[in-house]
Symmetry: C2
Subunit: 347 residues, 2 copies
Amino acid sequence: MNITDLDTPTLAADLDVLERNIDGMAQHCQQLGIPLRVHTKTHKVPEIAKLQIDAGSQGITCQKLGEAEVMVDADVDDILIPYNIVGKPKLKRLTALVQRARITVALDSEETAIGISQQAIADGCVVPVIVELDTGSGRCGVQSPQAAQRLAQQIMKMQGIDFQGIMTYPSNVRAKPFIEETLNLLSSDGIPVNIISGGGTGSEAASKEIGCTETRSGSYVYEGMTRVGNSEMLTPERCVLRVIVTVVSTPTPERIIIDGGMKTFTSYPPTPYGHIIEHPDAKIYGMSVEHGHVDVSECSHRFKVGEQLSVIPLHQGMTSNLHDKLVGIRGDQVETTWQIAGRGKVF
Amino acid sequence: MNITDLDTPTLAADLDVLERNIDGMAQHCQQLGIPLRVHTKTHKVPEIAKLQIDAGSQGITCQKLGEAEVMVDADVDDILIPYNIVGKPKLKRLTALVQRARITVALDSEETAIGISQQAIADGCVVPVIVELDTGSGRCGVQSPQAAQRLAQQIMKMQGIDFQGIMTYPSNVRAKPFIEETLNLLSSDGIPVNIISGGGTGSEAASKEIGCTETRSGSYVYEGMTRVGNSEMLTPERCVLRVIVTVVSTPTPERIIIDGGMKTFTSYPPTPYGHIIEHPDAKIYGMSVEHGHVDVSECSHRFKVGEQLSVIPLHQGMTSNLHDKLVGIRGDQVETTWQIAGRGKVF
């Protein structure tokens, strides 16, 4: 099938670029000597996770339990969930999942640890956990090496929960003293540390330098504005995703309207809201919920109703989350269609 | 079931407020003497569309063909699609739908009209259409009364397509001369006008004043920041939706983290990204993809891991589109669960 036969707006992945990005990161980490654990929140597609594992990733990362369930259903085995699992419904789902696959979860409080411990005891299993450190990101995480030590000590006393190590995000050399002091305190307590997990695409070398046993990288798989930093680098050579859209209106010589807006691309700023591959001079200056407003005043091309365009979206993970399917293309041919099975699994 | 037993983040609708909003708009339009055709892109739930029809709406509006298909599947009959239907796959779907229900579509170009005409002839049906006028919104629409007349004349010559009238968005008294001149030109050609469709929540009186035969209102059903304009008016008394979340981390006395971020609430600005009903002094100042970052420095309440909060999101239509299910609640009880059947139907 030719891509021009697709209904639009359709989310498509350039498979050549996808494979190049996956292989490139795998080689990068191998050269650095830091094991890679890919983060799948960017794509949420089990088939892509398997391509990444085949390329050498030692398992995957899922930000939400629901995403991990989808991946286990697709026979992915080794999963880190770097997220506090809280509340009875999720705790039951967690222990059910732990009995089906190798699952490790991060946590940062005694309350979270107690919840996991009690549910694991009730369900007759053991949940491997790591303690999250806030080494400067200002999100979750214990605030000091002493707090990490205290929480590790508490975990060591609980049943049904197995202390495996620590994690930080994003990896940064400034985190080194926090991590080293934590390791020293745990060592003085005789608490073994098997996992030191770092992460964030672009911080692989930092993960190595601060002593991590693995690095979590996700957005590299698609690339996009939030990583490359400016639209001039949003070129087809680096970016996997494109939203194939149709021109549905040409109301004035300066403006065309495409059939995708905020519910197709997200409303994530800044403008232009995407890079039109065929006509880089055409700028998506505005979006309604279902319309994209494009300034074509600097284009010599005369756009026609019915014409298809390929738009590289800005925030590829957010855009991906709005679509049910991902069409894999090579050149102008449709090679495969994948369900974005983890889409919408926010719980 | 009590809402505290729900897994989170869960999208919930306060049914008392929903019913009040639906009845209020129905009465408002009845008092004005302008028929209402609700826009369903805000909720995308067939059951809510039916509540609106039962309250007096004379049919519904769907921004995308895929949403209309979902509504017809749920036995909603009278649907306006105010959107140019372009391209072979959609044209085939349109003619299939026209043979199942009363569907009217808007268009603004001869190319769109020809596409519909040819497909309708091939499939042996007739598609009712209206011409969209750009009366100042700067999106789709013909640019002048003369252009509207020209397009209507062209449509009148085509088979398989039935000119029914005109539409504008949003309704505004400044559109009156454009509409009146268009009607005069069509009248001089002897072209009958059955539909003059206006729209936009809050412009019902303007729709009446400029001579519309119906007014399309959508966002009123949920209310929210994009309509009420500032967070001080984001009160439970007016707003239907809430995202029920759980506190998953309390890393510092000033900061808590909730289990919903950009993929739960959208990244639509401004901050605070939502109104926390139980603690209005707690401000959602930041969002990661799956974390909400809340400043609780002005709260006397001491938040605990595991505590549930109810957050009124900013852009209720965008938020609704991120969730598969909507839980209907009354007080603290779950009364029903609806599939958001039109979610993700961007094509």
